[in-house]
């Protein structure tokens, strides 16, 4: 496979031909923030946190789905990008009810981490404060729509890692909702295997183990990585 050389934030980086900018940057220890990206499942480029500037291209491109090219000059952390990321986080915090103080994922939340990293300690937009309900019908897991950022990581692990196809999206725009099967209570789902991969995948406190209380919900991402590595590299890392 041909190697490509490119510049990321002034640093020369070599990458394999089919790598994405995100992979190449991470290999070179250059951090690019992500939210909807999850190792092992198809990227959708939806959260826009990983947008980067490429010299000579007017548009910002999502690093998670943009392939490396020879000679690219990439900027991942310009003042403009930092501002956009902060605004995107503000929009997310205003969209649903992200109240860390009462959240099961407090302290273990990717959205919270991103906000801290980007200095987003204040939301200037109108809180939408929706009342979207919580599905607690499943015997093991709960789904709090009010904490969902619609990254669809749970949907993708359900379809592409577990292969159950239980979770999906319904509605559109800000009214989009994660649903189980044909929008029925999770407990009534015929397809759910109760594997819990969706819970492992969730970046916020939207999916959680029943019984977890404030700040108790910790995830073990290695479980997903374990399966993905087994599948893609045919290695069982015990």
């Amino acid at each position: 496979m041909a190697a490509k050389t490119l510049t990321i934030d002034g640093q020369l980086v070599s990458a394999e031909e089919n790598q994405t900018l995100l992979e190449a940057a991470r290999d070179a220890q250059i951090p690019i923030p992500t939210l909807c990206h999850l190792d092992g499942v198809m990227d959708v480029g939806a959260c826009r946190m990983c947008l980067v500037e490429i010299v000579g291209t007017p548009k910002l491109l999502p690093a998670c789905v943009t392939k490396v090219q020879e000679g690219l000059e990439v900027r991942t952390n310009s003042e403009r990008l930092q501002r956009y990321r902060r605004l995107l986080l503000e929009l997310l915090f205003a969209e649903r009810n992200h109240v860390c103080a009462v959240c099961v994922s407090n302290g273990h939340c990717e959205l919270q981490d991103l906000a801290t990293q980007h200095g987003m300690d204040h939301v200037r937009y109108a809180y939408q404060a929706p009342n979207l309900g919580v599905d607690l019908s499943h015997r093991l897991y709960g789904l709090d729509h009010n904490r969902c950022v619609l990254c669809t990581r749970c949907v993708r692990v359900c379809w592409y890692i577990e292969g159950a196809g239980t979770l999906n999206l319904a509605g559109r725009g800000t009214g989009s909702m994660i649903i189980t099967d044909l929008n029925q209570p999770w407990a009534d789902s015929d397809t759910c295997t109760a594997c819990g991969k969706c819970v492992q995948a969730c970046p916020t406190g939207a999916l959680f183990y029943k019984g977890a209380t404030v700040a108790e919900m910790e995830r073990d991402r290695q479980k997903l990585e374990y399966i993905v590595t087994a599948r893609e590299k045919k290695q069982w890392n015990v």
């Binding site: 103080a101 919270q112 939408q128 619609l150 999206l169 725009g173 009214g175 989009s176």
Partner: protein, 557 residues
């Protein structure tokens, strides 16, 4: 089907013509005002008067003056009757004998008609959209026959390239280049898609073309299929256009019966099929990647490009996707030559453009003008300006992705580049005229509401950003906003425009940006004065949110 058969059909059809033809508009606009009843009444009146041998009553497509329907055109007298009721049928018939009648006559010599150059619409209002013979009599399918018998696929692509045709869906991508890209891919399977998911508020060009001349779109698609090496085409048409769907289905069936579609088109080795896919009402499905997802049976959501559909489109195969009007331009380019087409229009925008003229204007309807026609000619000369006592304030083009062009810029020629310079876009051809009573902030709010409701919800800036933009606009409208809100509005517009995933989000701020550019005072005069006693903390620039008032008390310090 061979050339001789085509000529035979044409001659038989022309021989059927009678002394008088009453062309009744049966496009959706006139049907909604009893157009079908008018045609039936005329049919009965002709029978009752024993004139069946002399008078043909033909249902046709759009006769343009949509605001004055139902419309009936009389040949060969060249008269257009408007606002005809079914009970007017005998009186209308009596005019054929030279009798006078008080019926409302449209002026075919008026500037509304004089400035039109029907090219896409050349058959619209003349041929019966339900009869393929009627289309063949207007030299229909002759271009397809010539292409299949006399041209190699690369020659067809090069003819389209030479013509300078650009995509009529709005973005204006060179059509020839798109065709060439698809044709050059190394794939054994390719697809052709016709985008008929016209969703801009106030736009009805594609609907009229499909309802008036469906065979023309089919012919353009088959030519495209031959040029790029595809055997399967899809027409993605919205469910809100039942009449267009019905006429398309009928047209496809007729074309198949005649061997113009299916296996061995025109008895050549070329096979081409066209299927209809009906959109379920999502505006975003007009975006090509979302459209293809919808055709595949998946949720209609856009995906990042590249890869572009030309490389990896429908079912992962190279896909040519063009708008209805783009395909409708293809047969005349083949028949009359690319040089003829390139001689119409401006340097960079060739040919004509169909516009749906609506809003605060005297004459509402469908027009087709050469590219480069000044806006003033369209809205003042052809459209007659604002209704009595009014004054045109702005013209909105491009729907929710476009912008408002102020009256001071009415001399702008209508072409892709000029409109973009003004912060609007050509768009698919909706043109909404606004007069002095129109509130521009409310216009911006309306379009933002539309985008908010039609956002698919995939990417954050479009999904959550349009919600906040709409709230800010509503706040300004309610005179509850301050300068800070206006700053936030502009900051958010910048964010949504530059970070959204697809065209819907990237262009959603355009109506706000263009009204802010040309009608900023309407925003400013609504703002509340700054707070008389500002809080002790000094205002912080938008890029640095203040550290005060944590709203996120659980976040680690």
């Amino acid at each position: 089907m061979l050339l001789e058969d085509l000529i035979k059909i044409k001659e038989a059809e022309l021989a059927r013509r009678k002394k008088h033809t009453l062309r009744c508009c049966l496009a959706a606009g006139c049907i909604s005002s009893q157009g079908q009843a008018v045609k039936d009444a005329l049919d009965q009146a002709v029978q009752a008067a024993g004139l069946a041998a002399e008078v043909e009553v033909r249902g046709v497509g759009c006769l343009r003056l949509c605001g004055e329907g139902p419309l009936v055109a009389v040949d060969p007298d060249g008269v257009l009757f408007q606002k005809i009721r079914p009970e007017d049928a005998p009186a209308l018939l009596s005019t054929l004998q030279g009798e006078t009648s008080p019926l409302d006559r449209g002026d075919l010599q008026s500037p509304f008609f004089k400035h039109q150059l029907p090219l896409v619409l050349e058959n619209s209002g003349l041929v019966d959209p339900d009869r393929i013979e009627s289309y063949i009599a207007a030299d229909g399918y002759l271009a397809l026959r010539n292409v299949l018998r006399e041209m190699a696929p690369p020659e067809v692509v090069s003819a389209i390239t030479k013509s300078g045709l650009r995509g009529r869906g709005g973005a204006g991508y060179p059509t020839g280049l798109k065709w060439a890209t698809v044709a050059k891919t190394k794939s054994t399977r390719r697809f052709v898609i016709c985008n008929a998911d016209e969703g801009d508020p106030g736009a009805f060009m594609d609907r009229s073309v499909l309802e008036s001349d469906p065979h023309r779109v089919l012919e353009g698609m088959i030519v495209a299929g031959y040029a790029v090496g595809a055997e399967q085409g899809f027409i993605y048409v919205r469910a809100e256009y039942p009449l267009a769907i019905q006429r398309l289905q009928n047209a496809i069936r007729q074309a198949k019966q005649m061997g113009l579609l299916g296996s061995g088109v025109f008895e050549s080795p070329f096979n081409f099929n066209i299927d209809i896919r009906i959109g379920a009402g999502a505006f975003v499905c007009g975006e090509e990647t979302a459209l293809m997802a919808s055709v595949e049976g998946r949720r209609g959501q856009p995906r990042p490009r590249p890869p572009f559909p030309a490389e990896s489109g429908l079912f992962g195969q190279p896909t040519l996707i063009n708008n209805v009007e783009t395909f409708a331009n293809v047969p005349p380019i083949i028949l009359k030559g690319p040089e003829w087409f390139a001689s119409i229009g401006t340097d960079k925008s060739k040919g004509t453009k169909v516009f749906a003229l609506a809003g605060k204007i005297q004459t509402t309807g469908l027009i087709e003008v050469p590219m480069g026609t000044p806006l003033r000619v369209i809205v003042e000369t052809m459209g007659g300006g604002a209704p009595a006592g009014g004054q045109i304030k702005a013209v909105q083009t491009g729907g929710p992705s476009g912008g408002c062009i102020p009256a001071s810029h009415l001399d702008t020629p209508v072409d892709y580049e000029s409109l973009t310079t003004l912060g609007s876009i050509m768009g698919s051809g909706g043109m909404i005229v606004m007069d002095q009573t129109t509130d521009m902030v409310d216009v911006a709010r309306f379009f933002m509401e539309f985008c908010r409701d039609e956002s698919c919800g995939k990417c954050v800036p479009c999904r959550a950003g349009t919600v906040q933009l709409h709230e800010l606009l509503a706040k300004i409208l309610a005179r509850q906003a301050t300068q800070r809100d206006l700053d936030r509005l502009e900051e958010l517009c910048d964010l949504v425009k530059h970070t959204s995933l697809c065209g819907l989000g990237q262009t959603a701020p355009n109506p706000v940006l263009s009204t802010l550019r040309f009608f900023r005072h309407e925003y400013l005069e609504r703002l509340q004065p700054a707070h008389p006693n500002p809080p002790s903390a000094p205002p912080t620039p938008a890029t640095q949110p203040p550290n005060t008032a944590p709203v996120n008390p659980g976040a680690p310090a």
